[in-house]
Amino acid sequence: MPERHELVISKIVLDVLKPHTPTIIDFAKALSGVKGVNRVDVSILEVDTNTETVKLVVEGYGISFDQVRDAVQHMGAAVHSVDQVVVERPQQR
């Protein structure tokens, strides 16, 4: 049975509320700069007058949730819920 701290996050799916600007393109680019992130997928789920709800999928290896959340908040968005998390054992690299 592996120790819990040995596991690393490889995928996080978040429900995020953001203003219309920055656009999802700038939003995705900003998140791709987070350490450990290799792929960012942003899909718009709902559009309101001032805001939009997006599904944010962040994939990579050894992703820090705190850093992802900080990057989301820095772009003026708010994490509503964490809908999915994938963790895996550290790979021998």
Binding site: P19, T21, D26, T49, N50, T51, H74, G76
Partner: protein
Amino acid sequence: MYLIISRLRSLRQSIETVLQYSGKGGMVRRYFITNGFDGAMSMLGIILGVGLFGGTGSLTVVTAGLGAALAMFISGFMGTYLTETAESRRRIKELNETMLVDLSSTVVGSAGRAGALIAALLQGLGALIFGIAVLSPYLLSIYVRVLEQWAIPITIGMGVMVLFILGASLGRLTRQGVVETGVKTAAVGGVTAAIMLLIDMML
């Protein structure tokens, strides 16, 4: 040289991003031209008003023109800064209430503050640059004395040209006829000059 161009491109990109995030991109372009139009027209009026008055030297016209240009810059800057800062605060407050988070320390909040400042600077510069462009024949005539006797017709020509460029830019921006819009704004300058000349002849 390459480094300077690269820095300028980067600066332009940053300004465009800030204006996009603050929602002031379209407004800045429109009002830069509007303020430029105001600056050019006001300067044309001041130069013709002062210059047509007999015995007025180039230095007097230039001093009056520079004073007016500075006043237009400050007026454009302060007017826009105060209104756009208030508008940005309202926008951020509205977003804060919608999202139930404080956006003041995010890129959206920073862009709102910086966007108001950039918009104000561009509005002030619009009036200053185009005003000085119309004044340039008189500025030059201080150093090239022979130009002094031709300063008024050259100024009218310069004013009409600047107004044409502004109109054409507006036409390009609004995707209307570039030449048509340019001719319209140039005609406004031409008519103003004609009225001023008529008043001068009557007095």
